[in-house]
């Protein structure tokens, strides 16, 4: 650097000095941000550790004890728990009563293992709530799009409404409906569904706002009314993106309905919480395996479908 500086003209030197000043200020800002972040992180960690039931350093040595407790008595136990086969360790306790949970269909010859049935329940919760979200999000999104609705007030109202639906804690909706309808899958469907309306509605109206308006203009020119313009010009364009977002949402909803299940919404989440809480290691492993496989399968299937629907765009999220 210093050798080149000698050969610079007066203007060049001024520019270089200015650059050094800017760089120094930038470094100062970076240092300040990093410092603030470090302080925030440090105090957050201290606070988290203080308000936790067990302290991090005290619990850490026992961390793997717990992981060890999760090992079943033999390698086949997990599979017996998964398929509801009788266990050789059965002693009358809940821990090994795998065949108890069988769900018999068509008389007594054919059964669905308990956890598969519960998984199906969770998947149905996710699918039905995605459907609810899709239908209402679809109906609302056109009213929030700048290029279709001229009234600022209407757009503002619809957008805020969707924002509230999105930000309202799912657990409260579930809790409220659980108080009215009693615990079970339906409060979970309401909760996840209502959240999905807001989430999908937002993504949908952004798609609509990016739609090509030429077709709409053509229809407007021949005197089509608002519904005809939306139905024939916008919907065919945006439908693939809508479907793609709905699939992405389905992936998220499978996880969400598992979590809602764990706080009383039924399905596999509840089974998992109970079996971890009671220390039933084989059951826990069976559920985790089933849940893991299902989530991977749903993700893969939906990624494949989305790639078919809209191509590489489907992976563009979080930006």
């Amino acid at each position: 650097m210093s050798q080149t500086a000698h050969t610079l003209s007066a203007e060049g030197l001024a520019i270089e000095r200015h650059w050094h000043e800017l760089a120094a200020r930038r470094r100062l800002y970076t240092a300040l941000i990093v410092g603030a972040l470090a302080i925030a992180l440090g105090s957050s960690l201290w606070f988290a550790n203080e308000s936790n039931a067990g302290k991090f350093l005290d619990r850490l040595p026992h961390f793997f004890d717990f992981a060890g407790d999760m090992l079943p008595r033999d390698g086949w136990e997990m599979w017996r728990a998964l398929f509801d086969l009788p266990s050789p360790y059965f002693d009358g306790s809940l821990k090994y009563d795998y065949p108890e949970g069988r769900v018999y269909l068509f008389g007594s010859g054919f059964y669905v293992p308990e956890y598969f049935y519960k998984m199906l329940e969770t998947l149905n919760i996710a699918a039905l709530s995605t459907l609810i979200g899709f239908i209402f999000g679809f109906l609302l999104c056109f009213l929030a799009a700048k290029n279709l609705v001229a009234s600022r007030l209407l757009r503002f109202v619809v957008r805020r409404y969707m924002e509230i639906l999105r930000a309202f804690p799912e657990i409260v909706i579930a809790g409220f409906f659980a108080a009215v309808l009693s615990l079970g899958a339906i409060p979970a469907i309401f909760a996840v569904g209502i959240h999905t309306i807001g989430a999908l509605g937002k993504l949908f109206y952004e798609v609509v706002e990016n739609a090509d308006m030429k077709a709409e203009e053509g229809l407007r020119a021949v005197g089509a009314n608002w519904f005809e313009r939306v139905g024939f010009a916008i919907v065919p364009q945006v439908m693939p993106n809508f479907m793609s977002y709905a699939l992405l949402r389905f992936e998220i909803n499978v996880r969400a309905s598992t979590i809602i299940g764990a706080v009383g919404g039924g399905g596999i989440g509840e089974e998992l919480r109970l079996s971890i809480g009671r220390g039933h290691e084989a059951k826990t492993l069976a559920i985790i395996l089933l849940l893991f496989t299902t989530i991977v399968a749903v993700d893969q299937l939906s990624a494949w479908l989305r790639a078919k629907l809209v191509g590489a765009q489907s992976f563009d999220f979080g930006r």
């Binding site: 409260v172 971890i276 989530i295």
Partner: protein
Amino acid sequence: MTLLSAAQLSEIESRYPDVFHQPLLKRSLPLLIVLGTLLYVAYCWWFFAIGTVIAGGQWDRAEIYARQWYSYDLRPTIRFSGDDAKVTWPRFSPLGDNPNPDWLVQDGRKVTVDFGSAGRIVADAKLVEIEHRGEKLTVVVEPTGAKPQGELPAWATLREDEVKADFGFAGEVRIMPERVSLSRRFLGWPNFLFDPRSPFWGKPLTEVAGLIVSGDRIKPEMSNAALAFDNIWNNSQWQHGDVWTKLLQTIVMAFVGTLFASFVALPLAFIAARNITPSFLANQATKRFFDFLRSVDMLIWALFFTRAFGPGPLAGISAIFFTDTGTLGKVYSETLENIDDKQREGVRSVGASPVVVQRYGVAPQVLPVFLSQALYFWESNTRSATIIGAVGAGGIGLKLWEAMRTNSNWSNVAYMVLLILIVVFIFDNISNALRRRLMEGSAGR
């Protein structure tokens, strides 16, 4: 404007066969999708027994619970024994130990309760007169039960020995032999700052401010300001201190979890990106590791760490950290694989070392995107941290769940929901503003 002739029409039709003569399957696809969806809904209707559950729901309770979000009721009971009438209040009434509201007046044996514009009742041991929006009903109380005189209006019901009059929002009256139990409802959240045990309770805000600024010490060991703060913080009904601590836990969980996740995901993403690390094995191993972290659901991590660390925010932080390392790692490595290779080539061509190539050839392109993605996940984790809290992983979730389970604390639920909405709204805006600036900055580069 000219009309198309038949010949022109058929000419257009033959020019665009793929528009006018689509295969049957393609034409009927929307219909099939709609039919399939309807079938699926019918199946779900049966699977969850939705019809039975909704019909069996206690929808009248829904209205009561919804009211409790923004109002509260007071439940005095009037007991008659001999010539004496006695008004009793439940313990921990929001009106304190000696309630004497102006809507309930006792004059000897006669008690008058005013329900505002909805009406009023006058209770005398053997005779209760109800006035409901101008309509009058007299109920004679006999040892065998309450007997309404004349025809029962729509707002009153008789069940066994009990007459119930419904004043809508304003409350209700239940007349039984020996006693009349009342419920009188008011808008608002009672005792939001000070509970009845506090010396500041019931005083107007100006007086409280005066006491804090220049009053004599109420308790000699602490100043009035400290006492007021302590009373608010430990308010027995609203539990401000606990609620705010739990809310802070939720915020901290999302913040620390996302921050750690992005720190760990960053170097791993460089290993996972196939254009940065040219080793198939390393790429695949890292990517499958990300998939594993992501697919073992946040719930499983939360339950697992709650067992390991005990309930509290440490479990929540760890759960968010594990899940998001997977998600952010996947997103980061995809971003890295889509970078423009020219800058790297330029830096490499002047003989820079591999680390310097990443620093000046790759980082300037991806860092704004990375930061923006981290911010997005920080914001969305603030929301999901609420719910994993309910399984014991710390934060406000569990508190919410407990408040809802008792079915009587809906105003506390409303308070917490309001706080959560405000926090989510603020973070949403901060994150959006920062992200917009980041993206504009990187687009202009």
